[in-house]
């Protein structure tokens, strides 16, 4: 009994940490798909580049852990603006096939570049001293880094929630998700809104990639390898929402960890079956409308 309880607690804890990483990476994708109607299969690239840049900033320039994360996330956010203006913009709300192919092309380019620049081996960020070790609560050990990860993720989620729910920018964003042409007609500059939102989403993904490198090791195939998971979070959570993906990411993180812990012989089988059934039952996702 004691061991079962202890295993449940640790599955929950690690599952939530995993879910937080998935959320940070996927929330931008959810917004892009909901707001711009754009299937961005290259979204994982932002997380991958963010992770690599953070590692390079720490190792080559010697920035400290936190600064490196922030710097890489800002840089990726800015770089993504170029991509959005140059390539994505023309395809908004258009043909899915073109979006899929364009973004697969970008994934290929990013994979080759990453392998060329950073080599084929998986890499993890070196955690600063104060985040190493374990905290023991009720005689159970919790890695400090993951506690920090959960704390940081929840904080970011709350900030994002506040921004979307309470600020002028958030109101415009929600209006544009609901009805783009009406939003435009009442004078909201949706073009700029798209660019800003896209950059924030990409920056969040980069942060997730860097923060989460301990769980999802950064490697050249990253954007392809975890793509299914990012898409599950968006599809299950409901597109264009900030809260839906949070719920979905936590569910996915906990369920995946539990499956791997209790029934490793089935792999991710039940995850995919659950996703299929859920989408058949609610095509717009858990919190999605329609």
């Amino acid at each position: 009994m004691e061991t079962l309880l202890s295993s449940i607690v640790s599955v929950m804890f690690h599952g939530i940490a995993y879910g937080i990483v998935l959320y940070l990476i996927s929330v931008g994708l959810s917004i892009t798909m909901g707001l711009m109607g754009f299937v961005n299969l290259a979204h994982g690239v932002f997380a991958m580049i963010g992770g690599y840049l953070a590692l390079s900033f720490m190792e080559q320039i010697g920035l400290n852990f936190y600064l490196a994360l922030v710097a890489s996330s800002v840089l990726v956010g800015l770089l993504s603006i170029i991509l959005e203006r140059l390539l994505y913009r023309d395809l908004y709300g258009g043909d899915e096939l073109e979006q899929v192919l364009l973004t697969i092309g970008l994934v290929f380019m990013a994979m080759a570049t990453a392998r060329f620049v950073w080599g084929p081996l998986p890499q993890r960020a070196v955690v600063p001293l104060e985040l190493m070790g374990q905290w023991s609560i009720f005689s159970r050990d919790f890695p400090v880094y993951r506690v920090f990860l959960i704390g940081a993720g929840v904080t970011l989620f709350l900030i994002l929630w506040y921004v979307v729910d309470r600020t002028g920018y958030g109101a415009k964003l929600r209006a544009a998700v609901d009805n783009q042409s009406t939003a435009q007609a009442i004078g909201i500059n949706t073009n700029r809104l798209f660019t800003v939102t896209f950059a924030i989403g990409s920056g969040m993904a980069a942060l997730g990639g860097g923060l989460g490198s301990e769980l999802l090791a950064i490697n050249p195939a990253y954007a392809m390898e975890y793509l299914v998971y990012f898409l599950i979070v968006v599809a299950v959570g409901g597109m264009g929402s900030v809260k839906g993906p949070f719920l979905a990411a936590l569910l996915l993180g906990i369920a995946d960890t539990a499956c791997k812990y209790y029934i490793p012989e089935f792999g991710a089988f039940f995850i995919f079956v659950a996703m299929t059934l859920l989408l058949l039952w609610r095509p717009a996702g858990l919190l999605g409308r329609g």
Partner: protein
Amino acid sequence: MEAGWFAGARIMEKHNMETRDAILIRILGDRHLRWAEGVILLVIVLAYVFFPTYYTLLSQIFIFCLFVLSLDLLVGYAGLVTLGHAAFFGVGAYAAGLYAIHVSPEPLSGLVVATLVAAAIGLLSGALILRTTGLTFLMLTLAVASVIHEILNQAGELTGGADGLRGIEMAPVLGVAEFDFMGHTAFIYSAVVLVVGYLFFRQVIRSPFGRQIVGIRENAVRMRAIGSPVYLRLLGAYTISAGMAGTAGALLAQTNQFVSLSVITLERSGEALIMLIFGGAGKVFGAFLGVPVYMLLQDVLSRYTPIFWVFWIGLMLVLIVKFAKNGILGIGTRLFHKYRGRHA
């Protein structure tokens, strides 16, 4: 007054004729079907005579032509964008491999069984997921492919899991042609199956059924309004396409005598989409152009830049989406019209 009416009717009639022609060309993809078919056959024969050292690569090209042809039926003709088509290719490959090991090493029956198994899986999964549209459908194709991948991965005792399915031994085709090291039999075998598959595909496209799925792609609401059972037609296309993909997968398993999990990954589905778009989606010969171009490019590029070749493929894809949406065939058609316009 009457003359005016006649003239008007004439113009209307001419206009109708023109649009009908235009629609027919769009459906058939090419006005010079027979001519192009002859060229393709000629190329196959020439390749057989002049490139005996490339038989293995060439039979791979034939196999992928068949696979991409099946994808074209879905993406190009029915307008269903899928990220999980490799699932049916993989199911066909594993079915053929397992059939050869456990039931009979006879290749032709294996091909039929694999096709039927893949078509059955297509029918079952299609019946579920075709109730949705757009992004949800796209996700569900990916989800179904992931489920199938996990089943094949975890059922290690049967499928060899991550190590792949080994120990496939094939009997000679029709009891005479033994699979040889040079790939001589594999070449002829896959070429013949490709030709048969193509003839079947052409029949499907030209049938009223084929016209209906193109109509659904263009406007599903109107097709429903004129009495076409949209869901059933799409389900039919999905099943046929899955079966054809299964045939291609079975060919791969039989000629390579090895199946690995890589046949069923998202990369493989993406690659098939790339090959299709290279040639031109929704065109009869898109697959026949796109697959060889992609595979030869891959062969050449990976020899010169073993690490970086993926980059160039990706770049080409981006450029195609940006500048040449109808692929090589589209560029060819545009040049053709330009040329004709100048000399008419």
